[in-house]
């Protein structure tokens, strides 16, 4: 999976940071920052939950074909 963040849509609710702080952060202005865009394991699971919780629709997931 690859995470995408549309910073133009972000409203800084902070739900993502609350859900998975190893993947999501906020810049000083409050807008989402992706710390990692291809999380794995449990972090990936929680990142998906964060995407579902995002109120502004700024976050999305692109499924990728596994190279391995």
């Amino acid at each position: 999976m690859r995470l995408n963040a549309d910073t133009g849509r972000c409203v800084g609710a902070g739900q993502c940071v609350l859900t998975e702080p190893t993947v999501f952060d906020q810049c000083d202005d409050g807008v989402v920052v992706l710390v990692i865009n291809r999380p794995e394991g449990e972090a990936a699971q929680r990142a998906r939950h964060a995407v579902a919780l995002c109120p502004s629709g700024a976050l999305s997931v692109t499924e990728e074909v596994d190279d391995g």
């Binding site: 409203v11 800084g12 609710a13 902070g14 739900q15 940071v17 609350l18 859900t19 702080p21 952060d25 906020q26 000083d28 202005d29 409050g30 807008v31 939950h49 579902a52 919780l53 109120p55 502004s56 629709g57």
Partner: protein, 408 residues
Amino acid sequence: MTETASSRLTDTEFPVQRECPFAEPVEYEQIREQSSIAMVRLTGGGEAWWISGHEQGRAVLADRRFSSDRRKANFPFVSTDPAIRKRLHAQPLSLISMDGAEHTQARRALIGEFTVRRLAALRPRIQQIVDQCIDEMLTTDQHCADLVKTLSLPVPSLVICELLGVPYADHDFFQEHTATLVRRNTASEVRQHSIDELNAYLGALIDRKLASPDDDLLGRQIARQHRDGTFDRSSMVSLAFLLLVAGHETTANMISLGVVGLLQHPEQLAMIKDDPDKTPLAIEELLRFFTIVDSVTSRVATEDVRFGDTTINAGDGVVVSGLSADWDPTVFADPDRLDLERGARHHLAFGFGPHQCLGQNLARLELQIVFDTLFHRIPTLRLAAPLDKIPFKTDAAIYGARELPVAW
């Protein structure tokens, strides 16, 4: 409106007042079972679509074809109070009424103040405030208190005052006027008086900060706008008004109801006392269970929008019932069961979409510190009145308790 009175599912006027904090109004369940979207009559007059399903509620609130502009015709008002309407037209558009790019820009100017990291830095100070309130409570020889007066209201009020830069010494003044504003049956002229008083007070405060900017939220906003040449006094008053009112009425009510909920479920309270790591998730369930703000999440359709077999026409009013959505049994099984381990993060207690509560993570932090501290410091805390003798705010736009007698 496309539907006629004859096709309405019920003659009940919505929203319906709650009779007790542990149940949604029975009419909510009845209408939700028939249809997640239905045309209803409103308590304040007129008609609107009542969105009672969780999925549909989220969809409406995330959909930018629905406007938040409270000045628009057909915007579903709970109140027909001319004072509220006058204020809407006389004052600059409040953040909660803005749409699209204008809203994004205004909200962007504030979100840096509410980042998770920035709020985490407030934790020690909030802890200190909570400890001081509890110290004060424990000085009484009677071993009883009104929790609203001693803890629920002072904690969020002190926190928002410090954050905004409003002198807490004036709290009696603005708490009283805020309570008047959110009471549904306040007479129009009384409400207008409270609005005028608060506006005058905040205007004077902003003038002082303009002359000598303090390092607090309002001071920083004023300084920034002054620098950019965008400063507008009445917009700043409107912002201060919104943050001050939203910042203490809501959290105060959640503290009181949360304490009631936890004391009524001692086995679950014991669980979070044993493991405070469980408190954050427990708070999400308390937020869902009580969903204290039920009908602020109203909109007006700006285009025709289809939901299954139903078409919401451009110009129709829409009320998303947060309480009904959060008691939707297809999303939250046995919604009347308080289950602190449920995992209820997707509740609509803070709304959804671009307007989702700006202060939600401040509220979460305050609730966490209050619950963790209160039940540890006063383990014998109990309600000092039977549930049916507690004056719950059945007449307020924000549900809560007017008084909460506790003993230990």
